[in-house]
Amino acid sequence: MVKKLHILLMIGIFTAILTTPRIYSQDSDSLLETEYSGAANLELKQAILKEIADRRGLDSSKVHPDDLIHSAADISETFQVSCEISGACTDKDGNSAHDQLSEIPDYDEEKGFLNAQKIRAQKSGG
């Protein structure tokens, strides 16, 4: 009996976790595309959404991006898909450039120090 109650309790907790709505409030994120960058970002976002929704057998016109992100694995998949669809994942020869690096590569530290000065000089209020 105790064991059954324990199992029911666990199922209840698990169901609650799965069904608890995640709450968001925000300005329409369509502003990202319509206000400043024409159609490019909207097309990219929709292409990513369609690809991810298709993989899950969902209608991309009926899901919000947040509905498709529940785990780090989901973020990883979207990170990779967005990189591939945007073309940022391939080098000039069309080879995948993304997965080749497992560590942040070394660079000239003195140049890095100068780069930081250049970046700060382009910021507000500095």
Partner: protein, 355 residues
């Protein structure tokens, strides 16, 4: 009994309001959801905190506020972590008569092209679906039962600013979500002076330069704010970085920074010291590990009293740090220049502690 009372006092009044990121309520900077639009314009302050660096007084209103909240049933007015979603140049700034350092032409104006006000420059997106990707989530799929705050920047989405520098962060700030100071800068045994957290470098894609004037870079920071001598003072620690260095074996960076908008928690700006994690041991009697590899996760403990004292003793501030100054804010952020790059980090289990 005395020890117990001291301990209780610290526990009750000096720490993250949401120790450990348990509730994970987050919100953008401005208290009002309409702040920064024509119906509720920004208030610029003059003169600025530092007269020798760029300042500005416009624009007061933008097309959108880009407000965002998560894990709150209504717009939170207290008990929240605050998001920074800033994209440089974030307001119209004017180069002063005698700029020091001489980084601009006197009188020259740099204009912002952002759709939203400073620190809410661009809309937050779901990770991977826009430039400023952010979410908190409990990864039950892999058996985790705690929140991580994910910061996911993707610059293959177009930036409204040519050569824009996006900055995306989450943190706790006294008076903006945290109802009390986070700790104190003194070395008392029971003083909350240490910040503990776990940071992870999940993934990155090296960006490429947008133009010849600006190198492509990225960085992941923790930064803390205090205040004394009439000015906010802070320290940035670079936890991960590529093609950008804020310190080397013998030099670190001092950065005087104006933030003249009264409604933002960063107002009026701050005097910052920047040090890279791997260089801390060159200047201070402790070390801070650097994140370098995909999938690498580090549980950090940083004594902010020792860090600020070290920066102060080295002449990093124009006024020596007095013992006992309060820790007003602690934040984590990613920043990038260039295009076609990505940086995904997370932070969780953020706690203030005495030991």
């Amino acid at each position: 009994m005395v020890i117990l009372l001291i301990s209780l006092e610290n526990t009750a009044f000096c720490q993250f309001q949401d120790q450990g990121l348990v509730d994970a309520v987050v919100r953008t900077d401005f208290d009002s959801q309409t702040q920064g639009t024509s119906v509720n314009p920004l208030t610029y302050s003059s003169p600025c905190l530092f007269s020798i660096v760029s300042c500005g007084n416009s624009p007061a209103s933008f097309a959108s506020t880009n407000y965002f909240s998560q894990n709150a049933a209504t717009w939170p007015s207290s008990d929240f972590w605050v998001l920074s979603i800033n994209n440089e140049t974030s307001y119209d700034q004017v180069c002063p008569t005698n700029p020091n350092p001489p980084i601009c032409t006197p009188g020259e104006v740099s204009y912002t092209l952002n759709p939203g006000p400073l620190n809410q420059s661009l809309p937050r997106s779901a990770p991977g679906y826009g430039l400023m990707g952010f979410t908190t989530l409990v990864d039950t799929e892999i058996g985790e039962d705690f929140y991580r705050a994910h910061l996911v920047m993707n610059t293959f989405f177009a930036n409204p600013m040519p050569g824009g520098i996006p900055f995306l962060g989450i943190g706790a700030q006294n008076g903006r979500g945290n109802s009390y100071a986070l700790g104190q800068l003194n070395n008392g045994y029971y003083t909350y002076k240490k910040v503990k957290f776990t940071a992870k470098l999940w993934d990155f894609i090296l960006p490429t330069p947008v133009n010849e004037k600006q190198p492509a870079t990225f960085a992941f920071y923790i930064y803390a704010l205090s205040s004394w001598g009439g000015k906010p003072r802070g320290v940035f620690l670079t936890l991960a970085h590529w093609n950008i260095d804020n310190s080397d074996s013998s030099n670190f960076t001092i950065y005087n920074w104006n933030w003249p908008v009264q409604e933002s928690f960063y107002y009026p700006g701050a005097q910052w010291v920047f040090i890279d994690a791997e260089d801390v041991s060159n200047f201070c009697p402790f070390s801070v590990p650097r994140l370098t590899a995909k999938g690498q996760q580090i549980a950090y403990t940083i004594n902010l009293y020792l860090l600020f004292k070290c920066a102060s003793d080295l002449g990093g501030f124009d006024s020596t740090m007095p013992s006992g100054s309060s820790i007003e804010g602690i934040h984590w952020a990613v920043e990038m220049s260039g295009k076609d790059g990505g940086l995904w980090t997370s932070v969780h289990n953020m706690r203030m502690a005495a030991q």
